[in-house]
């Protein structure tokens, strides 16, 4: 019949998971649409009641820890450093309010859609995921966790419990630009996250990521490197659009052509950098 359980602690959840494969249910905003029936079939562990997975807290050595079941609405409303502005902006465009109230950051990552809104900003924040399992807990960089479309490095007996943002990545200011064919409830054609930290009036650190243009969203190390040392007014001009395109592997689909995606990604990266540089210049 049901097979649904909603454990009250992580220990209990891991114990259940150790007994056999389960579907892990977080916000439900991907799992329910994947079925046309009135219910989720099979053995389901609902993670929404685990206190260990809730909320945003200060992490060790100045970082941040975001519980895996933190909703997008909670992230959008949280008082976070300016480096997280891109993450908060992404949180405000994951579906509508209804989806933001239910959908979680951990679910977004485990669903591993190439167009997951949360991934590009988290890549610019050097996010690491924490996986708890019977062998204890381990940390993986987000890039390593996401193995491909709908594919992660989570073992069947593990639960993603939190996302860590290291202190070093919380410097500067972030931004997120989403391009779609309508205003709300839209799957991205291209999305870009950027974070720039300035020191002494020049770019000290740059983090750029593009989503929906490759099997997994990607950082752009070559483009980032070219920005370091730039004055605010120089920054956008240093974005090498050809290097942006070279770093991506976009596809043709119902939303856009691959060629368009490649071109738009370059444009959006330049705009994201320009916007952050303007904000810096205006401080």
């Amino acid at each position: 019949m049901s097979g649904y359980v909603r454990p009250a602690s992580l220990t209990e959840a891991l114990g259940l998971l150790a007994r056999g494969p389960h579907v892990l249910l977080a916000g439900g905003t991907d799992l329910y649409p994947a079925t046309e029936g009135p219910r989720l079939d099979g053995a389901v562990i609902d993670l929404s009641g685990l206190p260990e997975l809730a909320g945003i807290a200060a992490g060790p050595r100045g970082g941040l820890v975001i519980g895996a079941c933190t909703s997008w609405a909670a992230i959008a409303a949280a008082g976070l450093p300016a480096a997280c502005d891109g993450l908060r902006a992404a949180a405000a465009v994951v579906g509508g309010r209804q989806i933001q109230n239910a959908g979680t950051i951990g679910g977004n990552l485990c669903n591993a859609s190439p167009a997951a809104d949360g991934v590009p900003p988290l890549l610019t924040l050097a996010a690491e995921v924490v996986l708890a399992g019977p062998r204890g807990s381990r940390r993986l960089p987000l890039e390593a966790f996401l193995a491909g479309p709908r594919l992660t490095r989570r073992a069947p007996d593990e639960i993603l419990t939190a996302v860590h943002l290291p202190a070093a990545a919380l410097a500067g200011r972030g931004v997120f630009l989403k391009l779609g064919a309508r205003a709300h409830l839209v799957i991205s054609i291209v999305m870009v996250a950027a974070r720039l930290a300035f020191a002494g009036g020049r770019v000290a650190a740059a983090a750029l990521a593009v989503g929906a243009c490759s099997p997994v969203a990607r950082r752009l190390p070559a483009v980032e490197a070219a920005l370091v040392g730039a004055l605010p007014e120089e920054a956008a001009g240093r974005v090498d659009r050809a290097a942006v395109t070279a770093a991506l592997a976009p596809l043709d689909d119902v939303r856009a052509s691959a060629a368009y995606r490649a071109e738009a990604a370059g444009e959006l990266v330049a705009r994201a950098v320009a916007g952050l540089a303007r904000a810096e210049a205006g401080r």
Binding site: Y4, R6, A8, H184
Partner: protein, 909 residues
């Protein structure tokens, strides 16, 4: 961990409630099935439409994505809940609910916002409602209602007797749509019956063979029966136009489109899982025609339709080729459009049961009498043995004109002698029902040196899909309308409806005219440029005027296009100046453009009979009952027809009791299509009301100037200061069971079209024109429509608020056609890959109601429902070209297409 055997309890609308102990179930299911709270609607079961929005501890969530287990011990508020009075009143005041299917979701999302921000700005409202899709209103009235919800406005008094027509009265059917009480197709069923699921083809064309159906059914305790085409007792064919009926209720041997049903499984309606897994059917895919251009040389899908040609419509007047050869200026071009899905937020749904010897089918529909006749034929019943009761209809736009699940429900009820119900999933609804015809069109148009249009050649190929549906209507309607509302002396227009193995293309708001107008109006812009004439001036120069003949040789009764274009002139001048100022001020990149396009549209069937009949009765107690069979699908016919009847009878609107539609209770008022209800059924209502008034006055021995005074204790007649209570008790009941009643029919006078398309195809035309103002992000190819100004000649605005509602909603669908909507079988069968506009996609809309009374219309009124959609998309394309110089030959103008067109126009980086 919660005790799982215990029934989950929660607090719903302030009261404790207990649900079935299945915690993985969708909360939406539990609210509807366990608690009977059917005000929570399910439109997609995927979080894409927001119709099921409820508040969970005050926060809006999609109930369809919420496991019951997560709501346990928490507070759930639904549309039936407390605290919504102010919002509801504001929604009613602003006409914010049309069909009403999204209204519960809108109300709940709005309630959550208002709890935080009691007096929000419009932008905050649009953001808060961005997760709820509406297909009717264009969102403007909804946003206004939420912004205005804080205001306590006393309910407006109803109009006095004789003053209903022209008054913006609130919808007579509005309140139940705001309380969750209105019962849509999925909201009413008989317990103890079966739930039906259809087995559908995954292939565009395939042969199929069943395995051991009996064995499969027997192995499943909750399968009551499996039904196939072999079980159909009557003629297994339906089709909107009887001469072309070709579509089986369940396919025989071969399927001709993806999503076609081959079998029906009846599951026990006891909450047990209704799974089609392992259903024994073997498919053998066959070569399919997917490209309509290849259809002519492919083997015919239907035996008597060589070259897969369903119908070719033609209009020929003068010698267009010769006139084009000598035209001072000419423009030629092509335009392609794709499948467009109606996407009513209510999928097809209904229930059926026996009442004595009569099969009762209560389902969502636009055409109850056609449903009755087609279902009766398929099931080998007489018409008298089938009763169709339309449910509240959660949007139609043409797709609910064809029967869908009615024969399937009937088949199961007859076979099992038990009630049945069925609701299409969103995917089923998108796969199995009709679409707007994709068009591939070419045209040439020319004018003389002074800019007067001389000739038009138009050729359109319309992909009508696997079955006829309304394909003949599109093929015949398009050539008639190919000229737009312009005087063009030489015309050669033809349109072919061509069969393929694509989705069935049928009726969709405008029947092909929106597609053809996209090409015509974009070419007119190019022609005006060639002639060196302002684009609006060019249209005004060429607009049909009273006394001008159309391309079919008809003289329309009341020509309002000139007045519509004149109404736009000051707005056009303002928009041009604004765009020029923005261009001067802004740097390159963000471009502004302005476009205009016009429309005309004949109301009712094309040169075919199209009657409506209305009855009004006076009971022996003196109550007045309007039997009105026009199906309300959100457009407002319940209100408009009643307004006409009330004024013609000379009583206040509130004095009318409304009955119907219901094929057992209301005469045939035809289908809700072709913008015909206000005109045709309105005329029938006018005649019936006048006849009843005459009968009442005769009985009272009073003159025409007497006043009817309906009251709780009967009907009084006042004349010359004398007031007399009408003595009805002694009258013999008439054939309809009333003390007095009148039943009147109106059929619009039309004349058949000859081989050259000459004749008088419509008795009444409506007219309109719209300006679109856009901002284009040239580097990304994205478009923001800033403002649409729409002037529509409605003859007489019976209800100005409802008329504006039709205009705003039409613009929303036109914007979707222009910029985002494209149905691709197998790829966009949901509401997140198939995009319809959301709150922030909509422009500011100014609707201007122009009234050039038509002598044929009731009180001068013309139809409007379809007209409003037609000019929007071409006006947007013309504005984009104005902004960028890019010539667009395909819609939707998705960003990558616009970017490519901008590059082609030399605007690339």
């Amino acid at each position: 961990m919660t005790g799982l055997a215990v029934a989950p309890s929660l607090v719903v609308n302030g009261r404790p409630a207990t649900l079935r102990p299945d915690r993985a179930r969708r909360l939406s299911e539990a609210l509807r099935e366990d608690l009977g709270l059917t005000g929570t609607k399910t439109g997609c079961d995927a979080g894409d439409c927001g119709a099921c929005t409820v508040l969970l501890d005050g926060a809006p969530v999609c109930a369809c994505l919420t496991p019951v287990g997560r709501a346990e011990g928490r507070a759930v508020t639904t549309v039936e809940g407390p605290g919504l009075a102010g919002l509801r009143a504001s929604f009613l005041r602003h006409g914010a609910a049309q069909c009403g299917i999204c209204t519960p979701g809108m109300l709940m999302a709005a309630a959550a916002l208002l709890a935080e921000v009691p007096r929000p700005e419009a932008a905050a409202v649009r953001a808060a409602l961005g997760g709820v899709l509406c297909r009717c209103t264009g969102y403007g009235p909804i946003v206004a209602a939420v912004v205005d919800a804080w205001r306590e406005a006393p309910p407006a008094p109803g109009p006095a007797a004789g003053a209903a027509v022209g008054a913006a009265v609130a919808r007579v059917d509005g309140v139940p749509r705001l309380t969750g009480a209105a019962l849509y197709g999925a909201d009413l069923w008989k317990p103890g019956g079966v739930v039906l699921k259809a087995v559908r083809s995954p292939h565009p064309r395939a042969a199929f063979a069943f395995g051991d159906l009996a064995g499969w059914a027997a192995a499943r305790a909750n399968v009551a029966c499996v039904l196939t085409a072999d079980d159909i007792p009557g003629e297994n064919r339906f089709g909107a136009i009887p001469a072309y009926a070709d579509q089986p209720a369940l396919a025989e041997r071969e399927v001709r489109h993806r999503g076609e049903a081959v079998a029906l499984v009846a599951f026990e309606d006891d909450g047990s899982p209704a799974s089609l897994a392992g259903f024994p059917v073997a498919w053998t895919p066959l070569p399919a025609i997917l490209d309509p251009a290849a259809a002519a040389s492919a083997p015919p899908l239907h035996p008597r339709r060589p070259a897969n040609l369903l119908v070719e419509g033609r209009v020929r007047r003068g010698d267009a080729a010769a006139a084009l050869a000598v035209a001072a200026h000419a423009a030629a071009g092509a335009m392609r459009t794709g499948f467009v899905e109606h996407a009513p937020i209510e999928p097809e749904a209904g229930a059926a049961w026996m009442e004595g010897a009569v099969l009762v089918i209560r389902a969502t529909t636009q055409a109850p009498v056609m449903d009755r006749d087609e279902t009766a034929r398929i099931l080998a019943l007489s018409r008298e043995q089938v009763r169709i009761i339309p449910s509240a209809v959660g949007g139609g736009f043409g797709t609910k004109l064809d029967v869908s699940l009615q024969p399937l429900l009937g088949l199961a009820v007859l076979k099992l002698d038990r009630p049945a119900r069925m609701t299409f999933t969103r995917r089923e609804s998108m796969q199995a029902t009709t679409k707007r015809h994709p068009a591939a069109m070419t045209a040439r148009i020319g004018c003389d040196a002074s800019g007067r249009l001389a000739a038009l050649e138009f050729d359109g190929q319309f992909d009508t899909g696997a079955y006829a549906s309304w394909g003949p209507t599109v093929a015949n309607r398009v050539p008639v309308h190919a000229t737009g509302p312009y005087r063009i002396p030489a015309v050669a227009a033809r349109a072919r409806a061509v069969h393929t193995n694509n989705p069935v293309a049928g009726a969709f708001r405008g029947f092909g005219v929106p597609q053809a107008t996209l090409l015509l109006e974009t070419l007119i812009d190019r022609l005006a440029a060639a002639a060196g004439i302002d684009r609006l001036a060019f249209r005004r120069l060429n607009a049909l005027a009273p006394g001008d003949a159309t391309a079919t040789g008809q003289l329309p009764g009341a020509v309002g296009i000139g007045a519509c274009l004149a109404a736009l002139q000051p707005r056009w001048d303002r928009a041009q100046a604004e765009a020029a100022a923005v261009r001067a001020a802004a740097g390159p990149g963000l471009l502004r453009g302005v476009g205009v396009a016009a429309c005309w549209y004949g109301c009712g069937n094309t040169a075919l009979p199209n009657p409506s009949t209305v009855r009004i009765g006076l009971t022996h107690a003196g109550a007045i009952v309007l039997h009105q069979g026009a199906t309300e699908i959100g457009q407002g016919s319940d209100t408009v027809i009643a307004q006409i009847a009330a004024d013609a009878l000379g009583v206040p609107l509130a004095a009318l009791a409304l009955v119907g539609p219901d094929t057992a209770l209301t005469p045939d008022a035809g289908k809700t299509s072709a913008s015909r209800q206000t005109f045709v059924t309105g005329r029938a209502a006018l005649a019936a009301a006048r006849a009843l008034r005459a009968a009442v006055l005769r009985l009272a021995n009073a003159g025409e100037g007497a006043t009817l005074l309906p009251g709780a204790d009967g009907l009084r007649v006042a004349e010359d200061g004398r007031v007399a209570l009408l003595d009805l008790a002694g009258l013999q009941p008439d054939a309809a069971g009333y003390a007095l009643s009148a039943t009147e029919t109106y059929d619009p006078p039309t004349a058949a079209l000859d081989a050259d398309g000459q004749g008088a195809p419509y008795a009444v035309y409506g007219w309109g024109a719209q300006i679109a103002e856009v901002a284009v992000d040239a580097a990304l190819g994205t478009v923001r429509v800033l403002r649409v100004t729409a002037a529509h000649d409605v003859g007489r605005a019976i209800n100005p608020a409802l008329a504006r509602g039709q205009i705003e909603g039409g613009i929303a669908q036109g914007l979707g056609l222009a910029l985002m909507e494209e149905y691709l079988p197998g790829r966009t069968e949901n509401l997140h890959d198939y995009l319809i506009p959301t709150t922030d996609d909509m422009p500011e809309v100014e609707a201007i109601l122009v009234e050039v009374p038509d002598p044929e219309g009731p009180m001068g009124a013309k139809g409007l429902g379809e007209h409003a959609l037609i000019p929007t998309a071409p006006a947007i394309l013309n504005a984009i070209r104005d902004a960028t110089g890019a010539t667009l030959a395909e819609v939707p103008v998705l960003p990558h297409r616009l970017r490519a067109a901008i590059r082609a126009a030399g605007g690339g980086r």
